[in-house]
Symmetry: C2
């Protein structure tokens, strides 16, 4: 009997489940900071670069298009996390900058990665290896997308 269609055999189903589980793991930690996971990803980018980022740059890093980012950034602006303003050098683009509140939040978020790492139950070594395996899988797949 052909078992290739059995759901429990599928790598992709594991990744789908894992992704959902991780979102749930983040939820309580991010709730303290008043963020959702995609909002947290945007904040990571803004925290690690001092300068203003264009929406295009954020989209390139997160691989999200404007249909996702436009409303996401609007909600974040409403939460006083960031400001959006047309770039006067090129009026097509919009520059995103952190507000004082947005910058402040970095102090709270600082401990999230370590807490998450602990919850995974992985060793440093296992983490490094898994990251590496996923990186090469991502590379392989991106070639075909």
């Amino acid at each position: 009997m052909n078992e290739s269609l059995h759901i429990e055999n599928q790598l992709c189903f594991r990744l789908y489940q894992l992704n959902k589980s991780i979102t749930k793991l983040y939820a309580p930690l991010l709730k303290e900071a008043g963020l959702t996971y995609p909002q947290y990803l945007v904040m990571l980018i803004l925290w690690q670069n001092d300068q203003a980022q264009t929406i295009k740059e954020i989209g390139d890093i997160l691989e999200l298009n404007s249909g996702t980012l436009s409303p996401l950034l609007k909600r974040m602006e409403k939460l006083d996390l960031l400001k959006r303003a047309r770039n006067c050098e090129d009026e097509r683009s919009v520059l995103v900058t952190l507000t004082a509140h947005g910058k402040e939040l970095k102090l709270k978020a600082k401990f999230i990665p370590a807490k998450l790492f602990m919850l995974t139950g992985l060793s440093k070594d296992e983490l490094i290896h898994l990251k590496h395996d996923l990186d090469s899988l991502i590379d392989n797949i991106q070639q075909h997308v």
Copy 2:
């Protein structure tokens, strides 16, 4: 300098990206069958069990709640993939069964797992190991969710 908040260091961001890439990889194959990825997951469950499944059973396997499944199954019923009917043994539950069209689709879908596996560029051995690593990570994480 503390780099724990750097996005490229994060396992979770990789999983998030990988999940999106995989969905895009599936898209053209599933489009031929007229399915989305979550719809395909429901079909996998129905294909591998001959009997009718309750929504509860499907939700337990996919870890999806009724807020997701109710509209998802309604769309699938409209596509003539399945039928929903109250269980006369216990009127609280709804039994889901494949239509002729839904059963037929299995023949088309049969080749999807092999095609996907090819696109990942993994060896059989790498696949087995990665599945194993992800399984134990899922187990660890589920304990904390």
